[in-house]
């Protein structure tokens, strides 16, 4: 008997789907739903956009003491 899944179920499967960790039949139910549901298609795109945004974050500050310690160590290592 053919099944279907709700939007609420789909949003919990998004990561597994993107990771290619959904078994074939479940991936099929997921895709069927995305095919007819604009809301979930947009949600999937939002998750992709989120991954892309995370990938673009800039380096965060290294605490000054840590940076100084490491630079000192580097200079010491340079000389040896």
């Amino acid at each position: 008997m053919a099944e279907h899944i709700s939007c609420q179920e789909v949003i919990e499967l998004v990561t597994d789907y993107l990771e290619r960790a959904l078994p074939s039949e479940e991936a099929s139910l997921f895709e069927q739903h995305i095919n007819f549901c604009d809301g979930c298609e947009w949600y999937l795109d939002q998750m992709r956009a989120t991954v892309a945004a995370v990938g673009r974050i800039e380096e965060e500050e290294v605490p000054p003491e840590t940076r100084d310690k490491l630079l000192t160590a580097f200079r010491h290592w340079k000389r040896t």
């Binding site: 008997m1 279907h4 074939s24 099929s28 095919n35 604009d38």
Partner: protein, 167 residues
């Protein structure tokens, strides 16, 4: 094996964005599909599967190799597009959408008591197109009669499509 495949307006696969080789008068080139745990091979529809995958453009596809079957699709390691099914155009898409909407109303309002809340979703869903309305009608059938009715409604949708598309 001859099967069917819906693609986006621009000739790319709905889920992978893969651009299918197409030819105006001749079959497109053969495509070999990589094997992948979650999404292996080339996915295609038998006539009964069409309602589940309704998309913008419909093509006839020839599949080759060992063909696996799943509940609502077949999967092959090799395929090539043969021709576009021209009958699946804007007019027929709209007609299918309206057919599903009318069926959905019939199912919802024919119930005792009428499924008013379910009926209220139908018309606002129409702009979203044929795939959604197919689901809405089948889902209301299920609500009224049970799980087997969902499948039966999908079978009705398939028969409608096969007849109108001349498959």
């Amino acid at each position: 094996m001859i099967a069917y495949k819906f693609l986006r307006r621009d000739g790319t696969s709905v889920f992978t964005g893969f651009r299918w080789p197409l030819s105006a008068d001749a079959p497109g080139a053969w495509v070999d599909a990589p094997i992948d745990p979650c999404r292996s091979g080339i996915h295609a529809c038998r006539p009964a599967d069409l309602p589940y995958w309704v998309g913008h453009s419909l093509y006839e596809i020839e599949l080759d190799g060992d063909i696996a079957t799943e509940q609502t699709k077949v999967i092959a390691p090799r395929g090539r597009l043969l021709r576009r099914v021209g009958a699946w155009d804007d007019e027929l898409r709209d007609a299918y959408t309206r057919m599903c909407a009318d069926r959905a109303h019939e199912l919802a309002l024919g119930a005792s008591p009428p499924l008013e809340q379910w009926d209220a979703v139908i018309e606002p869903s129409v702009p979203e197109g044929p795939a959604l309305l197919g689901f809405v009608a089948a889902r209301i059938a299920e609500e009224r009669y049970g799980a087997a009715a969902y499948d039966a409604e999908r079978a009705r949708q398939s028969a409608w499509l096969v007849e109108r598309l001349g498959l």
